[in-house]
């Protein structure tokens, strides 16, 4: 029966091609705009490591100025980064299953077989657990062991992209490269990996891409590398040597721990609190105690990854869709009632109210589906345009909002959902109205 109704639907479209085009166009535009904003919103509000949502915790402590809060918008939060000395101390604990302290550093890399020229590489000085903790996939080799952090051993892990640049993508494990003028041995090459948002370091733009080289954290002090990410200081203290900087109350370290259960979480919290009390007694931590263990999901919310602008745009796009659908309801109603004479004949010949309702709903469904397909194409084009806009604003470098503007499965799913919504919202009332018409009146007027 549905097949027959679909044929009727196409017949009906042909009767009023202009009107049909207007309705399909309105639905398509409404769906396109919603798919675009929802695709971005979905990418933005996702938790890229959801399967470890109850195990990974960002570690923060409030060491800030007694007279001034770190973030005026969120006075209850500790600074999102740690001091070197506090993170170093907490990282000695054996309570967490895994732990990592790290920061972003600049580097110049020379070597490789494909690319001989020295070039800039954004790197990360991090601890051994980094790779296992965040489930980072390796293409070749592996990460380093904890002992390499302290030495520190001259071992380096490079990204898929950097391996392409340096070695044309071959297995480069065991090769040497110059990293900031020091010889390093490649022990691992990552597969392509780019979690969005970049939950483990949101300080330099939440949609940044991961670094292209990773070295043991001990190289930070050993080569006296300052953070290439943000580093913030509040205390009037001289910082005239790297040692003074390391011992300062400046924050620039990201710290994460993996705590498998509530018991270990509690134990680590107590450990932090104990450390805080000792330091507080010694005159540090002048503000109220905020020793925070924040799971990834909450972390993304606390750090304001989803911007208000995007919420406004989602609201706007649904208002837009509403207008498009209301538009369609009005047009459909007029159209159906105009065809009442035909419907009257069908009713007189024995079609039930339900069948008439069914027939008209199918017609709207077909309309909405065509609209959804068109809308999907439009949204793919639209996202492509936005992507190009953002990419050009970043000089073609990766990272930023362009990472969120990929047309993906989420887009398709949203289009399907919206097509169903459109059918129901736009079609139910007109189809119901036409089904309730008394057939006799319309037969008479013939």
């Amino acid at each position: 029966m549905t097949g027959y109704y679909m044929r009727l639907a196409f017949k009906s479209f042909r009767r009023n091609p202009g009107l049909t085009a207007l309705m399909v166009g309105a639905i398509a535009l409404g769906i396109a705009v919603c798919v675009m904003t929802m695709t971005v919103f979905h990418a933005m509000s996702g938790n890229p490591i959801w399967w470890k949502g109850d195990r990974l915790y960002a570690v923060t402590m409030d060491n800030w100025d007694p007279n001034d809060v770190y973030d005026h918008q969120h006075p209850a939060l500790a600074p999102p980064m740690m001091t070197y000395k506090d993170s170093k101390f907490l990282a000695q604990s054996n309570i967490p299953e895994r732990k990592v302290i790290m920061y972003k550093v600049n580097s110049i890399v020379t070597g490789g077989t494909a690319e001989k020229r020295p070039h800039h590489v954004i790197s990360r000085a991090t601890s051994a657990d980094f790779f296992a903790m965040f489930d980072i996939p390796f293409e070749y080799g592996s990460g380093w062991v904890a002992a390499a952090d302290e030495g520190p051993e001259p071992v380096i892990v490079i990204s898929h992209k950097e391996n392409q640049i340096l070695f044309g993508g071959g297995n480069s494990v065991g090769r040497n490269i110059l990293w900031n003028n020091t010889q390093f041995r490649i022990i691992g090459v990552l597969k392509e990996w780019s979690p969005q948002p970049k939950f483990y370091d949101l300080n330099n733009g939440p949609f940044d891409v991961p670094e292209d080289a990773y070295v043991p954290i001990g190289w930070g002090p050993s080569l006296q590398l300052l953070s290439a990410g943000s580093s913030n200081c509040w205390k009037p203290e001289p910082l005239d040597s790297f040692e003074e900087f390391m011992n300062s109350d400046c924050v620039w370290i990201e710290m994460w721990v993996e705590l498998p259960d509530a018991k270990s979480r509690e134990r680590f919290q107590n450990f932090m609190d104990g450390y805080w009390s000792d330091q507080h007694a010694a005159g540090r931590f002048p503000r109220a105690r905020r020793n925070q263990l924040t799971p990834v999901g909450q972390w993304l919310i606390d750090q304001g990854v989803v911007e208000n602008d995007n919420r406004v745009l989602v609201g706007l796009s649904f208002a837009f869709l509403a207008v498009c659908l209301i538009n369609t309801v009005g047009l459909l109603l007029a159209k159906f009632l105009n065809g009442a004479a035909i419907t009257g004949v069908r009713r007189a010949l024995g079609a039930s109210r339900r069948q008439v309702f069914h027939q008209h709903l199918v017609e709207v469904g077909v309309l909405a589906s065509i609209g959804a397909v068109l809308g999907l194409i439009l949204s793919a084009v639209g996202l492509g345009l936005v992507h190009a806009l953002y990419a050009s604003a970043r000089f073609g470098e990766p990272g930023g909002f362009q990472e969120l503007t990929h047309f993906d499965t989420a887009s398709v799913i949203w289009a399907v959902i919206l097509a169903i919504v459109a059918t129901l919202v736009a079609g139910l009332y007109p189809a119901w109205r036409i089904g309730r018409l008394p057939p006799a009146v319309y037969l008479k007027s013939q």
Binding site: Q224, N327, G330, A334
Partner: protein, 407 residues
């Protein structure tokens, strides 16, 4: 005079279509008014004066990478070359790229204070004696740095060094010394190092669009320290020469020193564009969606009216036959639309205010300015009338003879 009552009673007899149009108008008004208001704020934000000659400035990024790279020597050689290039007005070395959302800030106070948040927070920029000219800043009091006052870069053993002479923006001068001439007055950093204000520039925008002290910048007379590997040159070209200068510099600088890499040479404007990218995108999106929304509403009204006219041809013909003039028919549809639109606008005003209030509450946007609402009403009203004009004309053209024919 048009009789409103028959139109109204006809409308009430067949409400649904009218209600749907009114709702569309209401939503369109609410969206239009709030969108225009948000866009206006973004345009203002992007349009805040930078104080710099943004359009004619190039930024060069240079990274020395050998172990004992001679930063000072490289800067001297590079600047000597750059300043000699045809079309260059002035050039300076600088520690961070203006307007790029990256840079460092410090707090300065008008008295030595133990409280680190006491005073005025500002971005600090390291420049030489051509800094003011290279950035295109306007000196409004005091004097510029002299060549012999330019200090060597700080290094890892003297990071907290302050300089004895500084130039501040008017915003800092007014904050530290309100109502006074700041030139010659002392300032102190948080370690209580003193300095003297030797000059005041009218304005220089700090690097971060959301910074609360957007015009608070102070200039220090010293060469930049390439902490993070890279340092920059600011090169101001004569109007129209920017891109030609960029090509010349690119060729020469890349080859001139094997111990460093020239990462890029880019117009300063591109950094501003990137910093304000989300604002710009919000503008594009809001303008596009709102225009399409208004267009769709208009098309919807037009489509519905056209449809109604074609189904009512016989009634219109009958009215014409019993004495209605063309103008009466035309006016009937125009007035009908005006009534529906006005109802929609009334609902839309409430909706617009509600949405505006919600946005201000939830997203800390400023409260909707009522002028925008007042401005939006005639726009929507006109749109309604325009949309119905053509179908109404068509209706008025229906011949009275239609009434005499059978369907």
């Amino acid at each position: 005079m048009v009789a409103v009552r028959p139109i109204l009673s006809a409308l009430l007899r067949n409400r649904t279509g009218a209600v749907l149009v009114a709702i569309q108008i209401a939503i369109a008004l609410a969206v239009l008014v709030n969108a225009v208001y948000i866009v206006k704020q973004r345009v203002d934000r992007i349009g805040r004066p930078t104080g710099m000659d943004t359009n004619n400035i190039l930024v060069v990024s240079s990274s020395g990478f050998t172990r004992d790279y001679d930063t000072v020597g490289a800067i001297r050689n590079d600047l000597e070359y750059i300043r000699g290039v045809r079309g260059v007005i002035a050039a300076t070395a600088i520690n961070s790229v203006p307007l790029s959302s990256a840079g460092s800030a410090r707090t300065v106070s008008n008295h030595p204070s133990d409280n680190p948040s006491d005073g005025e927070n500002g971005q600090y920029i390291e420049v030489d004696e051509q800094g003011i000219d290279a950035l295109g800043l306007r000196l409004v009091a005091g004097r510029n740095f002299r060549a012999e006052e330019i200090q060597p870069p700080v290094d890892k053993s003297s990071t907290s060094r302050f300089e004895s002479k500084i130039i501040v923006t008017k915003a800092i001068a007014d904050s530290l010394y309100p109502g006074q001439n700041a030139v010659g007055k002392p300032v102190f950093d948080i370690l209580k190092h003193p300095a003297t204000i030797i000059g005041v520039v009218e304005r220089m925008q700090a690097a971060w669009p959301d910074y609360t002290h957007i015009d608070s910048v102070f200039l220090l007379p010293r060469l930049p320290f390439s902490y993070y590997g890279a340092m920059y040159y600011i090169v101001r070209a004569q109007p129209g020469q920017r891109d030609a200068v960029a090509r010349t510099l690119e060729e020469h600088l890349s080859a001139s020193n094997p111990n460093r890499i020239i990462d890029w040479i880019r117009p300063l404007q591109s950094f501003k564009d990137r910093s304000y990218g989300t604002d710009k995108n919000m503008e594009y999106f809001l303008v596009t969606v709102t225009s399409v929304l208004v267009a769709i509403s208009m098309l919807g009204i037009f489509g519905l009216a056209t449809f109604n006219v074609s189904t009512r041809t016989k009634q219109i013909g009958t009215r014409r036959a019993i004495g209605a003039r063309r103008g009466d028919i035309l006016r009937y549809f125009m007035v009908e639309n005006a009534m529906i639109t006005s109802t929609g606008i009334a609902i839309g005003c409430a909706l617009a205010l509600g949405v505006g209030y919600y946005l201000s509450l939830q997203y800390k946007l400023p409260r909707l300015d009522l002028y925008y609402l007042v401005g939006g009403i005639p726009v929507l009203w006109t749109i309604g009338q325009l949309a119905v004009w053509q179908p109404a004309r068509k209706a008025s053209a229906v011949s009275p003879s239609v009434a005499t024919r059978t369907v």
